[in-house]
């Protein structure tokens, strides 16, 4: 690869220095090489693998990425680098060694050529100075260079481009013609072709003011957010399913819509960043702040039967670190998961310190209610409350008599239960919190094999039975009582064993009972007896009763005497994790047959104390009676029906910082393996970056704030570079995802820094950045090939012509629908299903999805809204290189394949656009000249030239004739059956114009931003 010109501006005269020695026959004294562009790339390529940041693979105790180590004595005692003295420097001796001491060693198969050796020699001779890697140093204030042809310059950034072109004796390209430019601009800003009326207006007077008016119009267009959300979704690996085997549907589209809204509102990028990484931690950020944290909830979720949930959470965390690195820092942090980075100064433990910033979260959902829904919900709930409290009054007949008779029937069966308040509650994983009521609430992570150990102090009375109440709680999934949040039913639990140790001796149980038993999957029994059978595969479960209380009772072989202490041990879990989230343990001394009863604890107490119960217990009993009295069934049904009308909001996946007393420990994983945890680490930044300042907390929020602070040299540059690449075809740093030592150097470093500074100066406004880029003369150049550039700058690294490349998948599909006049303007909402062959999401896909094509306008929504299934992506978009949402994507491929041609030629969905455009043309004018011009202007933003027109007229005439003689074919092309034919003429005419539209949608020019 051609070495890029040095970033440093060297005095011009230096270039002539070598000439004089040559004239006098003296060996030329070349200028000292530039460290950044010439020396470090050599060290990185040839030396860092063994003499770089990774201490696991470092040889001889020598680091050549650090001046101090390079100039200090290595293990051998030799100094690798002796400034100004190549002849004393071990590097040079070893480079030149022909024998076994040669560096790099024979085994690496790396060989430096003479020029490269010479570069290192000259570098050391000139002082062996190190410079920090360019991107790790904050951009300095920079003024645009002065240029001669200042009339070409429209924005400051043009001066940078022009200066470099001029230095190569090259001129910029002529401006793009107005139509081409406006089409380019429209696709770039809103992802769609421009309205032909706009083009016509602009062409009349294509001056700067008119152009800028269009820029502002497009920036204010609500479709702008839809276009620009897409690259952000690529980075965020957005999809509507969980990925992996089951690949079930998830609801996180409200986050996608939040992105669209935020971009349209030009939310400053610093705020945009902080909300997405830590919106839950910002006071007052509210629901929108929570929705924003969906960014890192876009990681995949493996729900395959029998996986280890914490292992896959760890994989999600490594994805979060890598994605954060790519998106904000332009660093390949993923490299340091297994060992210290070979090239960039991020070591193994620093990788886990970055992870620790992001790790301390619970992953949960929030419900989104519209204002109307919220009002409606409050209304229903208050009505429910009114009806419930009025139940006793609604009783048909004498309520107190009925209550008395209920009590006299129930009282004999009531048992006195004593709630046991634990002294300690621990588990292998979830945090168990003892409540004042004696109940235990669990939070935090769960495993497939959780063991709870609940310890109690002295028991003075003795025991004839133990009662376990599985209790609902609004914070648990589906209202509990279980903690299952994926793979199995929400809120499920599975108690595989229940054991009691009474003064150190195990208790043998002989009888169990329960109010309800049901397990998800499988046909075997799941009653409480399965929790004392010593088989961990069986157990008690109450799936189906989520959100309500269930009770199990365990009766020991013999009544137990008083004890000094006792312990309950419970095992939970199946092939998925299924632990109890809220429960309470009680004991009784009652003799006889004690069984599990649905009667709530305090209602039971009221029964026993009747006729003089505590007033609150009495109320409990009345409520209970109202819930079971047959006379009130009709009233209760009314309440149940009313509850069904509580509006359900859409859910979205969010992050929530864990409670301060239950932080998640982030551990270093040896070789990056989940099963090799090592010591825990605190959050921290890699040493080569300026650390968190005092006003940033060392947590997720502080990290997010640091990312977009002036202390961080990377984010601004990475961001402006990615946007530059989107408009100009390639980045100033072409490796948009790697600003580290292995990344390419910037072609225009001063320009990059100027843009980064300007971006921050403009309040991190992405719209201002876009405005700056598209109003530049650089952007407005013609993209037509320039023969004189083909040799000198075939890759357009100097930006001596306008951008030209294939449009993205979404732009191709949306553009066709827009040109055909059928693109829906509807924004937001759940994913939609434009037509595609059903086999794509059903055949050979484990998590099959019946792809039922949407109807009405949802058939023609922007591709952004197409339901994104990870294991079987929307085929059209995939063919045109849209990512699957399985990994962070900073740069899409732009392939050019026959499979794409098949899609555009033959996909029946594509044909719908051709038919619609034909309809529109025919409806608008009877004249073929007008029709053809209209089609061209809608698709290509220009009229046809005479030769094109004549070729296409011939085509349409011949085709129409053909279709007249073959109306069956014409009808088939129009997707119609024989009976709905108004007249043969119109059919053949429509079919002919459909053929024209289909042809135009397949032209190279249609598919290209030029």
């Amino acid at each position: 690869m051609e070495q890029m010109p040095s970033c440093q501006q060297r005095p011009l005269a230096m270039n002539f220095v070598p000439l004089f020695p040559l004239l006098f026959g003296i060996f030329p004294e070349a200028p000292p090489p530039d460290f950044t562009s010439e020396v470090r790339p050599l060290l990185a390529k040839f030396c860092f693998k063994c003499h770089g940041p990774d201490d696991a693979t470092r040889k001889g105790g020598l680091r050549l990425d650090l001046y101090s180590s390079a100039t200090g004595p290595a293990k051998s005692g030799q100094r690798a680098l002796v400034p100004n003295h190549p002849e004393q420097s071990e590097i040079i001796r070893r480079l030149l060694d022909e024998g076994s001491e040669r560096m790099p060693p024979e085994s690496t198969k790396l060989v430096l050529n003479q020029k490269q050796k010479d570069t290192l020699h000259r570098w050391i001779a000139s002082g062996g100075e190190y410079r920090p890697h360019w991107s790790f140093v904050s951009p300095k204030p920079i003024k645009p260079p002065l240029v001669k042809e200042s009339s070409w310059v429209k924005t400051p950034l043009d001066s940078f481009i022009l200066a470099k072109l001029a230095a190569k004796a090259m001129a910029p390209a002529k401006p793009a013609d107005p139509r081409t430019l406006i089409r380019r601009l429209s696709y770039d800003l809103i992802g769609l072709p421009p309205d032909p009326l706009w083009v016509a207006e602009f062409v009349k007077n294509p001056n700067d003011q008119a152009y800028e008016r269009f820029v502002d119009k497009l920036l204010a267009d609500p479709r702008y957010g839809e276009r620009w959300a897409r690259p952000w979704l690529d980075l965020a690996r957005y999809a509507d399913t969980n990925g992996y085997e089951k690949d079930r549907t998830r609801s996180i589209w409200p986050w996608r819509d939040w992105v669209v809204r935020s971009l349209n509102a030009d939310m400053p990028f610093d705020k945009f960043t902080i909300l997405q990484l830590a919106g839950d931690m910002i006071p007052g950020a509210g629901l929108d702040g929570a929705i924003a944290t969906g960014f890192h909830r876009n990681t995949m979720l493996n729900e395959e039967g029998g996986i280890d949930p914490l292992e896959f959470r760890f994989h999600a965390m490594t994805d979060r670190v890598a994605t954060t690195g790519t998106t904000w820092l332009g660093l390949t942090l993923g490299c340091a998961q297994c060992h210290s980075h070979k090239y960039d100064p991020v070591n193994h433990s620093e990788y886990y310190q970055i992870m620790a910033f992001l790790d301390n979260t619970d992953e949960t959902n929030v419900e989104l209610l519209s204002d109307d829904q919220r009002i409606q919900k409050a209304r229903v709930l208050s009505e429910v409350g009114r009806l419930e409290s009025g139940l006793s009054k609604a009783f048909p007949g004498d309520f107190s008599k009925a209550l008395d008779s209920f009590v006299s029937k129930e009282k004999p069966m009531a048992k006195a239960w004593d709630i046991s308040v634990p002294v300690r509650a621990t588990s292998n994983e979830p945090k168990l919190r003892i409540q004042k009521s004696g109940a235990i609430l669990a939070d935090g992570d769960t495993t497939k094999n959780d063991l709870y150990e609940i310890s109690f102090g002295p028991h003075t009375g003795g025991v004839t039975a133990f009662r376990l109440e599985a209790l609902p709680d609004p914070d648990l999934p589906a209202g509990g009582p279980g903690m299952t949040w994926y793979e199995g039913p929400l809120g499920d639990f599975f108690l595989s064993e229940f054991a009691v140790e009474w003064d150190g001796a195990p208790v043998k149980f002989i009888r169990t009972s329960q109010t309800f038993a049901n397990a998800w999957l499988g046909s075997g029994s799941s009653d409480a007896s399965r929790a004392i059978d010593r088989d961990l595969q069986t157990g008690w479960a109450t799936n189906g009763k989520q959100g309500s209380r269930s009770v199990a009772v365990f009766v020991p072989e013999k009544p137990l005497p008083p004890a000094k202490s006792w312990t309950v041990r419970m095992n939970f879990g199946r092939h998925y994790s299924a632990s109890l989230g809220h429960f309470r343990i009680s004991t009784t001394r009652e003799p006889g047959n004690v069984e599990a009863r649905q009667t709530p604890h305090w209602a039971e107490a009221a029964l026993l104390a009747w006729p003089n119960p505590e007033p609150s217990d009495r109320q409990e009993l009345i409520s209970h009676f109202c819930q079971v009295a047959p006379e009130l069934e009709k009233e209760r049904k009314r309440i149940i029906d009313l509850k069904k009308s509580i509006p359900q909001g859409h859910k979205t996946m969010v992050m929530r910082e864990r409670p301060a007393d239950n932080p998640r420990l982030t551990r270093i994983r040896h070789r990056g393996e989940f099963l090799s945890p090592k010591n825990a680490v605190a959050p921290g930044l890699p040493g080569f970056l300026p650390g968190l300042s005092n006003n940033h907390n060392s947590n997720r929020l502080g990290f997010a704030q640091w990312l977009v602070s002036r202390d961080n040299p990377l984010t601004g540059r990475v961001l402006v570079n990615r946007h530059w690449a989107a408009f100009m075809g390639q980045g100033i740093v072409r490796t948009v995802d790697d600003f580290g030592l292995q990344g390419e150097l910037p072609s225009h470093p001063e320009l990059l820094d100027w843009l980064a500074n300007q971006f921050v100066h403009d309040g991190w406004s992405v719209k201002k950045l876009h405005r700056l880029l598209v109003t530049s003369a650089v952007y407005r150049q013609s993209s037509t090939a320039r023969p004189e550039l083909a040799l000198l700058d075939s890759d357009n690294r100097l930006f001596g012509r306008g951008p030209r490349h294939r449009l993205d998948a979404e732009m191709i599909r949306d553009g066709a629908l827009e040109a055909a006049g059928i693109l829906s303007k509807k924004q937001g909402g759940p994913g939609v299903f434009p037509p595609q062959p059903t086999s794509i999401t059903t055949e050979g896909t484990y998590g099959a999805l019946a792809w039922v094509p949407s109807t009405g306008e949802d058939r023609f929504r922007r591709t952004l809204y197409t339901f994104a299934k990870r294991t079987a992506p929307f085929a059209m978009a995939q063919a045109f290189d849209a990512p699957s949402g399985e990994a962070c994507t900073a740069r899409r491929d732009r392939s050019n394949t026959p499979l794409q041609a098949l899609h555009l030629l033959n996909d029946p969905a594509q044909l719908e656009a051709s038919r619609a455009l034909a309809d529109l043309l025919i409806k608008t004018s009877p004249k073929r000249e007008f029709r053809l011009t209209m089609a061209f202007e809608r698709i290509l933003s220009r009229p046809p030239d005479p030769e094109e027109a004549s070729l296409l007229f011939n085509f349409v005439v011949a085709r129409q004739k053909e279709f007249q003689s073959n109306p069956v074919q014409a009808l088939a092309l129009l997707g119609k059956s024989a009976k709905d034919t108004p007249s043969d003429d119109l059919i053949s005419e429509k079919a002919a114009w459909t053929s024209v539209a289909r042809l135009l949608f397949n032209l190279d020019e249609t598919l290209v931003k030029r």
Binding site: E245, C335, A790, L791, S839, S884, S895, R1010
Partner: protein, 473 residues
Amino acid sequence: MNGQMGQGIELARRTFLGKLGLGLGTAALASFGPVQAGGLADPLAPKKPHFVPKAKRVIHLFMTGAPSQLELFDPKPALTAMEGKPLPASVIKGQRYAFIRPDAAVMGPRFKFKKHGHSGAVLSEILPHTATIADELCIIRSMKTEQFNHAPAQLFLQTGFSQPGRPSIGSWALYGLGCETKNLPAFIVLSTGAGISGGSALWSSGFMPSVYSGTRLRNSGDPILHVGNPPGVDARLQRETLDLAGKLNQRRLALDGDPETASRIAAYEMAFRLQTSAPELLDFSDESKTTMEEYGCDPKQPSFARGCLMARRMIERGVRMVTIYNEGWDAHSDVVGNHQGNALKTDRACAALIRDLKSRGLLEDTLVIWGGEFGRTPMVESNPSLGRTQGRDHHPQAFTMWMAGGGIRSGMTYGATDDLGFHVVEKPVEIYDLQATILHLLGFNHERLTFAHAGRDFRLTDVHGKVIHDILA
């Protein structure tokens, strides 16, 4: 000085135009798939590997869901003796399982085994047809993997990584070797069983250019997506459309001078050719009745047998990598019924494929691989709460695969497991070793086949893998 500059530009102009002309010519002749013209290299142009390959193409019969080695290839009488008892804890160590508890009872092999052929290969009674080609096979009893769930284990086998995002081995092969056929994609994927756990990431090119991705051949509708004309478009209209679009594109090329335009013209021509070659691939009328019977295949019904025959037709037409996913071996509940059924669907066709390749002289440079993503436990999976009785759970520590043809030593059984079939005790073959060996047979040093991405040179085998030289011919 000025004169020199002028000459430079003139030279540039001529080179540029020359490239364009050349671009058109070469693009039109270029391989199927990605089309590049002008000065840009075709990423699928045929390339030479590191050394002369033994295998020019690969057919991978991926038995996803994971067949039981204990019912097919690796008999363990000791298990029968221990039936109903748990394995010693010292054997199990810390292994995690998907469904069973590690102390589950042992279950002996459910089928009889016999020696076959000159090589005396030991095979189960439910593989009578495979038995007839025993002497062609190299049976590896010492396979190991790191993953014990389907999707991660399948991804690991295909991409060297347990999560989506890395290039599949087929993509590595295309990246290294390019493509010989002009009429079909060079890396084709079929699915003949139930749904595949790993999804399209299994044949994705990951971070490599998308042109190296596998192309799905579908069982219903168009075999290749949209390879058929849409309703109302006949061959003539298609041709006329392409001719006129081509003419208009040529004019655009002349005006704008973008080599990608030439590539697109060529891509459309290739698409047109594919519209002929794909149906021809599926038209079995030129296959003899004997062949159809050998494979046991109904040409109209998608099946594993039809997939095998199609695989042979594909490699005859220059396709380099074929993967057939035959999902369905995941015998958690009833290993006997499951394996009898799967054997019935696959055994005959596997044998027919090997014989067919051999009789056509294709076996010697076609590598055939048979196997799943892991093995199954020596312990029974019996779970009343799930209604499971005679199943086996996922077992990553030991399983069996076989390979044949393309540089593999035939008539050999390699490696061994302990008496309980739990651990490999002899000549372990890790997934990375399998990948290194496949790449070796294709002519690559797996340590040197690298792709630069995200700041480092990636390998299929990461920093692992050794070629298993003992199984090479």
